[in-house]
């Protein structure tokens, strides 16, 4: 029910968000009306010169105070709990989500589908299919915002953040950048194009790039010499990357981390930061040699050699090495 607004409810989470919003709004309206009516009534009835009875006025009452302390507190806790469930759902992409990679830069959005299709300032998605966006920025903080889906997530340089949605209406829905990022922040917009699944397949075929993401990543893996150490014939003792994606990795300091998108990116750019147990710290850093798109391609390649179909559930904000 979004009869009061022209904003469509175009995702599965949108009605849930709206329900909470309208409930809270209704509560707010009730409180505002209540207080405003009380103020008006009192102002009229007790204006100077009115004949109203003013005897027996209370200057304090612990009972009354506790009432209007505890009732709001209880309401707040109730609303908070409700909000918690909706929020948890917003942050938990389903197992069968398809990943699309998004790279933000001043002042455009670049999207890459696993099949190699690339888009600028647009994102084609199929109806009814959970889509998970893994996003990073090439420069400053941006924010991926689709009002019709009720989703927003800041996109940061140097790390991956994620956002997921399932579109429930066919059409074009505006995409905005919602974190001020400089000169053309206001023009950094685009469209999410939701298509029927069959149309979407046709679109994918029609727009496929020369290579899938994984194939491109495989080429980079060879051209940048990764296979020299990590390949099966390597003379150097380096971790085997086949099937690495999504597995737990043991580090020299005794902790374990999960090999998700972020771990792989860090391992390529800052290899000495988290050393793998049992291996010498001899991997060189590729910082400055690979673009964000290259990194995503390599990740795509490693994913393709792994049995894990998707990002492990705890990516980015919830992974073990997150600091907050």
């Amino acid at each position: 029910m979004s009869a009061l607004s022209s904003l469509p409810q175009a995702s599965t989470i949108a009605p849930q968000v709206d329900a909470l919003f309208w409930f809270m709004l209704a509560l707010c309206v009730i409180v505002v009306l209540g207080v405003l009516i009380a103020i008006t009534v009192y102002s009229v009835r007790y204006r100077r010169g009115s004949p109203a009875d003013r005897s027996g006025r209370l200057a304090q009452s612990t009972g009354i105070e506790l009432t209007w302390t505890l009732i709001p507190l209880a309401l707040f806790i109730g609303v908070f709990t409700w909000s918690l469930f909706v929020f948890a759902r917003m942050r938990s992409p389903p197992e069968d989500s398809q990943t699309v990679y998004v790279i933000a830069k001043q002042w455009m959005w670049k999207a890459q589908h696993p099949g190699g299709q690339r888009e600028i300032n647009a994102l084609h998605v199929p109806l009814g299919q959970p889509i998970r966006l893994t996003m990073t920025s090439e420069d400053v903080i941006h924010s991926f915002y689709v009002p019709a889906f009720r989703v927003k997530q800041d996109v940061l340089p140097g790390r991956y953040t994620q956002l997921w949605f399932t579109a429930t209406q066919i059409g074009n829905f505006p995409l905005f950048c919602a974190e001020y990022c400089g000169l053309d922040h206001a023009r950094m917009g685009g469209n999410i194009v939701v298509m029927a699944p069959s149309d979407y397949s046709r679109w994918l075929e029609g727009h496929s790039g020369p290579q899938s993401l994984a194939a491109r990543g495989a080429a980079l893996f060879r051209s940048h010499g990764c296979s020299g150490c990590h390949g099966p014939d390597a003379s150097v003792h380096a971790p085997d990357l086949d099937g690495l994606y999504g597995r737990w990795v043991h580090l020299t300091d005794g902790s374990t981390v999960i090999a998700d998108d972020r771990y792989i990116r860090d391992a390529i750019l800052l290899p000495k930061q988290r050393l793998v147990a049992g291996f010498a710290p001899i991997m060189p850093s590729f910082s400055g040699q690979l673009s964000e798109e290259d990194l995503l391609a390599l990740i795509g390649y490693l994913k393709s050699t792994s049995s894990v179909a998707n990002d492990p559930p705890a990516i980015g904000s919830e992974s073990t090495h997150e600091h907050d």
Partner: protein, 224 residues
């Protein structure tokens, strides 16, 4: 309303009670509370740097260990000893003022200032050494190797923390030197000791900040 009390204070003790205060005792209480509030602000001020340091160290434990080994532990330890002794001296000096032992007090305060200066000189040597070793991030930083980025972060924090701390030491030394002169002139005594006492409090803060700085900067990764 209280002119008579204030005048009595002035005549008896040479205490100049400002007009917003009823008597010298109230003035002293206010000044003391003021200094404690100021110390609280300094804790929050340095707290930002300590918090940033903590987060960075959790992220880069090995890098910070490597970086810490580039600091001069001998000088750092000497500086710690110097500051601790100076705190002792200034505490004794403030006490001497209260006991009307002006010459002793002046000597102790001068000693504190001298030790403070010694601290600054030693730290100057440290900075010079770090400059020679190309350890100044952004300006002249030539560390290479696996932990280079973490080392650069460490040194960025190092210069911030020690820089602001040294600024506070320098201010303290200046104030103490002025105090020495005024103590010798007889401006303070058993009835007028607020300023030396609060200066000592400030100096203790400077010392305590350093006590946190020392292990965080100089002793990371030295145990093994």
């Amino acid at each position: 309303m209280n002119a008579t009390v204030a005048e009595a204070d002035w005549r008896a003790n040479g205490v100049q009670v400002e007009e917003q205060y009823d008597d010298a005792a109230q003035q002293r209480e206010a000044a003391t509370l003021g200094m404690w509030v100021f110390i609280a602000t300094e804790v929050l001020f340095f707290g930002v740097l300590f918090a940033s340091y903590t987060i960075c160290r959790i992220l880069f434990p090995q890098g910070f260990a490597v970086a810490s080994r580039h600091t001069d532990m001998v000088l750092g330890t000497a500086e710690t000893a110097v500051l601790l002794i100076s705190s002792c001296l200034i505490a004794l000096g403030a006490r001497a003022v209260k006991l009307d032992q002006n010459r002793l007090a002046a000597g102790l305060l001068a000693g504190t200032a001298a030790l403070g200066l010694a601290f600054l000189v030693m730290h100057g040597f440290e900075y010079h050494k770090e400059y020679a070793e190309h350890l100044i991030p952004g300006v002249d930083f030539m560390q290479r190797g696996p932990q280079a980025q973490a080392v650069e972060l460490f040194f960025c924090l190092y210069y911030c923390i020690t820089g602001f701390h040294s600024l506070h030491v320098a201010i303290g030394v200046s104030v103490i030197l002025v105090l020495v002169v005024r103590v010798l002139r007889g401006s303070y005594g058993s009835q007028r000791y607020t300023t030396p006492e609060l200066t000592a409090l400030y100096w203790h803060l400077v010392d305590i900040v350093w006590i946190f700085v020392y292990p965080l900067i100089y002793l990371v990764g030295r145990a093994g």
